[in-house]
Every structure is written in C-alpha cells, then in structure tokens.
C-alpha cells in the first residue's frame, strides 16, 4: 500500500471516530450515575435530525449543533422520567426510547421534507504548526469539532476525578443508599446526569449529519449508538479508554473506503459488517479478560427507592 493511502486513512479516521467518542462519553456520564442508557441510538438520531433541521433553517453550524444537543436532552427527559421517577425497567425504557426516536425522526424528517437536503458543513482548521509539516501535515487539518472533542473529554475526565461534584455523582452510581444517607438527592443528580449525557449523545448524532455527511437520511446512525454502548463496557467506564476505543472504531470504519480506493476487491456487504463484528469481538474480549467487573458502577441499572424494607 502506498504511503498516501495510509495518510488518507489516518487523516479520515478522526471524522469517523468523533461520533463514537462523544456518544460513549455521554453514556459514561449517565452510567456513572447509575442509569443504564440504552437509548443512545435513538438520541443520536434526534440529534442528527435536529441538527440538519436547524442547519437548513438557519445555516449556522455552531448554533445547529447546540440546538441538536438541546433537542436530544429534551427527548431524554421522557426517558429520565420513566426510569428515575417511574422506575420502569431500564432495558425496556431504553428500547422504547430507541424505537420512539426512530419512528419520530423518520416521520418528522419526511414530513418536513428534510431528507437528502444537502447543507453546508464546517471548514477544516489546521493545527499550526503541526499542520505545516510536509506529508503528515494533513493529519492535523481537521474540522473544529474534532479539535473540540479533546477538551470536552478533558473536562469530563477532570470533572469525575478531581471535583467534589464528580465524586458525588459517582457515589450516586456506586451506592445510592450511601449517597442518600449522606444527604445527596439521588433523583436530582441522576436526572442531571441523564440530561447532560444525552446532550453529548445528541451532539454525536448531529456531528454525523451536520459535519460529516451534511444531510439527513432516516436511520442514518446505522447502529452506532449500540456500538457506543458496547464501547463503554469495553472502556470500563473510563473516558480516556473510551476515546481510545472510539479511535479504534474510527480506524476500522475509515479503512473501508480506503481499501476500495486502493482497488482491493472485497465483497461490499461483508465489509459493511466489520464494525458490528468488531464490536462483538470486543465484547467477547472484555468478558474473557474478566477485569471489567470492578469498574462497573455498583448500582448500574437499578432503580433506587429509599423506603425499601428488607
């Protein structure tokens, strides 16, 4: 393989990695507070649709992305009410959310006639002086959202490990009885975590539609939300490991068009299976290495009732 293929591949990797990274980070926030959020696939679709809708209407990418985050947060309120107040089984609620969002976005997208409506994206930004390097300089010409992802990760990681607020959130997810006895309002914190996490998941979806493909097609997330759920388990709920995993998946996805360009003949649909197969492989690997259990938030997936006797 020639060097330019490799460069093309690496240069296009961040574009594929960002949605996985942001979605995984959003899931980590809500899961660290003890709420299992299986609705990521649906929230990404909401973010994607809202982002494109805003872009078509306003044409300002930054504003569109923010509106997408808000839209995803608002939809997640339904999920939060179901699992935190009404204590619905978190798997059922998550699945219901996904299908609700799938149906809703397909409906709204077609009724508002936003399907396949091309929009303007955001330009590339060079990371000077690295972008001035010959050859590899191209790797450092990425769009603003790619660069923004890194400080976002840094902020969330810092939040969890170095602030008292982050400690409280983790307590809520590890042992809500202890947190409650310490006077922490478990319900309120979980709500906040779900809304904040969902905003990031929505941002991930909006990235795909507004920045990457610059249009909307129903169901365009294609299972990335589910892969992000697996990614969080693989990353053992640590933000930096999730970023590494996202880069891995980005590499794999970015490889596909490069191989085709290089003239390598592979059956098209088998190649499209790769992300899912890799996710499955990753889950098996995690189970085999058996180290993930320690880092799982102790109360993940369990609703909390204070006056439970026995």
């Amino acid at each position: 393989m020639s060097g330019s293929i490799v460069l093309n591949w690496l240069a296009s990797t961040p574009d594929f990695a960002v949605p996985y990274a942001l979605a995984a980070l959003g899931l980590i926030i809500s899961e660290r507070a003890g709420v299992l959020s299986l609705g990521a696939e649906g929230l990404m679709l909401v973010g994607a649709l809202a982002g494109i809708g805003a872009q078509i209407a306003i044409g300002q990418p930054a504003v569109s992305l923010v509106l997408a985050m808000l839209a995803a947060s608002m939809v997640s309120v339904l999920f939060a009410v179901m699992v935190i107040w009404l204590r619905v089984n978190q798997v059922i609620a998550g699945l219901a959310l996904v299908f609700f969002c799938q149906g809703l976005t397909a409906l709204v997208g077609s009724m508002a006639d936003w399907t396949n409506h091309a929009t303007e994206g955001i330009g590339a930004m060079g990371l000077w002086p690295l972008s001035m390097l010959p050859g590899v300089g191209r790797l450092f010409e990425q769009n603003a959202m790619v660069w923004l992802t890194l400080p976002i990760f840094g902020a969330v990681a810092w939040f969890f490990t170095r602030t008292s607020t982050g400690l409280r959130l983790r307590a809520v997810g590890e042992n809500p009885q202890a947190a409650d006895a310490a006077g922490i309002r478990v319900t309120a914190w979980r709500f906040a975590a779900v809304l904040a996490g969902s905003a990031l998941v929505g941002l991930a979806g909006a990235y795909i539609s507004v920045v990457s493909t610059k249009l909307w097609i129903a169901g365009m997330t294609g299972g990335r939300g589910w892969i992000a759920v697996g990614l969080v388990i693989f990353a053992r709920w640590s933000p930096w490991k999730a970023l590494a995993g996202a880069v891995l998946f980005g590499c794999i996805e970015a490889l596909i068009p490069q191989l085709a360009a290089a003239g390598v003949q592979l059956p098209q649909y088998f190649v499209m299976m790769t992300p899912y197969a890799v996710t499955l492989g990753v889950m098996v690997w995690v189970a085999l290495s058996r180290r993930g259990a320690d880092e799982e938030p102790g109360a993940l997936g369990q609703p909390y009732v204070r006056e439970e006797r026995r």
Binding site: T163, S164, L167, E174, A178, A181, G183, D294
Partner: protein
Amino acid sequence: MPNALELTGIRKSFDGFAALTEAHVSARWGEVHALLGENGAGKSSLMNIAAGLYAPEAGQLLVDDNAVRFAGPRDAAKHRIGMVHQHFKLVRPFTVAQNILLTAPPPAEFQSHGERLREIERDIRNKASELGFDIDPSKRIDALSIAEQQRVEILKVLLAGARILILDEPTAVLTDQEASRLLQTVQGLARAGAAVVLVTHKMADVKTYANRVTVMRGGRTVATLRPDEASVADLVKLTVGESIATQGFQASATSRGPVRLSVRGLRTPASPEGRRVLDGVDLELHAGEIYGLAGVGGNGQGELAGAIMGLPGEATEGEIRLEGHGDLKTMAASARRGIGIAAIPADRYGLALAGGLSVAENYAIGRVHTGRYGPVWRLRRGRIQSDTQEAVRAFDVQGVRSVAQKAALLSGGNAQKLVLAREFGKSPTLVLAHSPSRGLDVRASAEVHARLRAARDSGAAVLLISEDLDEVLQLADRVGVMTRGRIAGEFAQPADRQAIGQAMVDHG
C-alpha cells in the same frame, strides 16, 4: 436532665405491615441509652425514623426538646444526629477520605477538591487518634476489614458534627474483643457529653455498658429502666413477653451412627493476595448427630454451605463424600436434592425462596424432580395444591390465606417454616442448616430447633452452621469452630464456652 433526642407515640407501617404501633424512646445528653428487643421488634425502624430515612405516620420527634420533622437524612444531620447502620453506607471503591467528604459539612470558604481532601485526611487522623484507633484515610473501603469499616462509619458521623449517635446492632459483625473495644469507645463519647443510642438484642452488652434501657416488643415500647436495677431474667421477660423455657442442651436419645458426610481438604482457589476463603476444611458428620459449627461470620461458612449444597463457583479442591454416593463434587445441585440432602440456607430470599412466586410453587420445587407432581410434560397442579396445604398445616405456617399467594408476603418466621416444610417433607438423610433462626422470634426459633432435633432423632445427620453461640451450644452434640476457612477445633458436649470463644478469635 434534658433529653437530647425523644420520639413519642410513633406509628409506622410498610405496605400494610405495622412495624411500629406505639413506640417511644428518649436519650439524654451524656448517657448510653440501650434500645433492646428481639429481631423484628421495630428497633431499627424506629431509629431510621430518628435518622430521617423513614417518615412516621403518627407521633413526634424532638431534638433538645424542640419538635422537628425530617424530610430526609440531611435534615437529621443538620440537627447533629448521626447513625451507624447495620449495613454500612459506604461507597466501596472510594477511599476513606472520599467517603467522609460526602458527608462532611461544606467548607466555610472556597477550597479546591484536592485541598479539601487533604484537610479531611488531617481531620480523620486527628479524630481517630483521639478515639484511640488507627485509620489510613487513603485506603479504599473494600481493602478494610469489617471492624475497620465500622470505625470509618463512626468517624463519618462524628466528623459530620453528630452529637447524638445511633448505633444499630454494632457488635453483630464483630468478635468479642472488637465488640468490647467498640463499646468502651462509645462509652467514652457519652462521658464527653454526647447522647448515644445503642440498638441491640444482647442483654450482656446492655448490662455492662448502658445507663438506661428501653425495651421494645412487637412494635411498641414496653418499659424503660436502669439496667443495674433489673436482672437478666427480668430483661428477658420484658423482651420476650413470657417465660419461654429455652431448652438447654439435650443429649440425643440414640447414639450416633456411621459417618454420613465426610469433607476432606476442601479448598477454594487462592485470591491474588494468596488468601483462600476455604483453606482445607476437614470434618466428619455422623448419622443421628447434630454438629454445630460456630464462628464469626465471614470465615467461610457460607462457602462451605454452598459447596455442600452444590452451588456453582465454590470449592475446587478436596472432596465431599456422602455415604452411599461417593464424591459429590460432580453431582449437580438438582441431583443432590434428589438423594436426600436438605438445605436451609442463611439467605432466605436469596437462596431458599423465590419471593415473587407462590407458596405452592416454592413448596413444590422441592419434590418436583422426583416425579411426584407428574412427568416432565405435565404438572399435576391439584396434587401440588393439596400437598402444600397439608404441609402448611403440619408446620404451622401462619399468614397463608391461599397457597397461591406470593411467598414474599410471609413474615420471616413463617417463611422459614415454609422452607422447613419443604425440606423436611422429604425425610432427608443430611440436613444443612445455616443460621436457621436468624431473624426469628423466640417462639419460631424454638420450633425450628425442635425440628432439627427431630431430624437428628430419626437418623439424619445435621450440620448446623450458626454465628449464634447460644444456638450452637443448645443444639449440638459436637461443636466445631470455623476460622479463616478451616476447622480450628472441635469440642464435645458439654463444652467450655470460654474455650470455644477463645478458639473463635484465635487465628491459627
């Protein structure tokens, strides 16, 4: 003398079950006030109300003679009430300092997280040395022993500013030595001015350490008196309500038979630090005897019981031989039930009964494998119904309006009787009873004990594992002591209680 904490006329029920009907208690500044009662008397529920976790349906709470109402634990903490629960409210992956940071009052001025942690670590070290023990604030909770974790809980409430301390059955998880150390520390706190409420069911602790005692029974307060003015017998009578002749040890009518169960060299895999939960257990159990295994909880009793029952993931080395069946290691749990092994696990709703299923289903599962209730393709529900009704009658299981009701609706004692009905209905050859009277009142305990004796008298081999030394001494023909995953010593009856207690704390 002013009352630090007072609860009067408290009423509280859980889903129709009246846990408290007319409860009151008061604690003065500078005293250790014991709250005495059997399991289920309502002591913990009452104190959970004082700590702001539950809300009473009727009655009043007063702190320093002011009426208060708590919306949650935080309100209670604001009134300087701190409770150390039976089940510690600690976040296990966090360090000691991080846990205490969660409950510490907010700093007067802005501090970074790192600074706050360091200040809290200083406070922890100071307070701990004042109280006379050693704690490393940077250690994770799951790296500490139970006694150390309890000390963290006490530090937590003291550093949060508590002057009214409530301790819920603090000595339940401690050895005799650790328990007396703890109670002495608590006495010291009271002498310095705090009000301490000690929830317990141990008369000895009440007599030794309490200034006053309030006795509760069946959800109501029965009496408040000074322990030095009453004898243990008086206290027992108040607690239990009538003088039940607690049987002393009764030797078996028949002599014991041949070896029924033989356990040799039972081991679990070593942890990364080299510790094994079961570290070479050797014991022989004869037909027609009760072997009582004493010891503080957490020394491998649960794993030994699980290995004999056939639960997955237990011992990997060693053998368990049952008379006439060879090594049980390869036999699945389902098969073991079929050859006459009856099990009464400690964890009633975790191992014995499925709370969400009906009484009939929970009963039937014991014998369904034998084909009594039909072949695999057809379940004979009529027979299940009549068998269950018969068993409920024979074993005096109360509160069963219909055998189709959910098992979780039964009270602790009746649930245990249902388990007994199921297990003993099969004329077992080996009975494994792990803490069989935990959570039961005196009457129910006596019934359970009678059943175990009856099983022994009809030739079964009974292995009784219990943390209650009194229970073991009352029932066992032979007593073994389990520490650190092995049998540390065996004693014949009548056994020397002091020697047994010594064996329980010695670490071979």
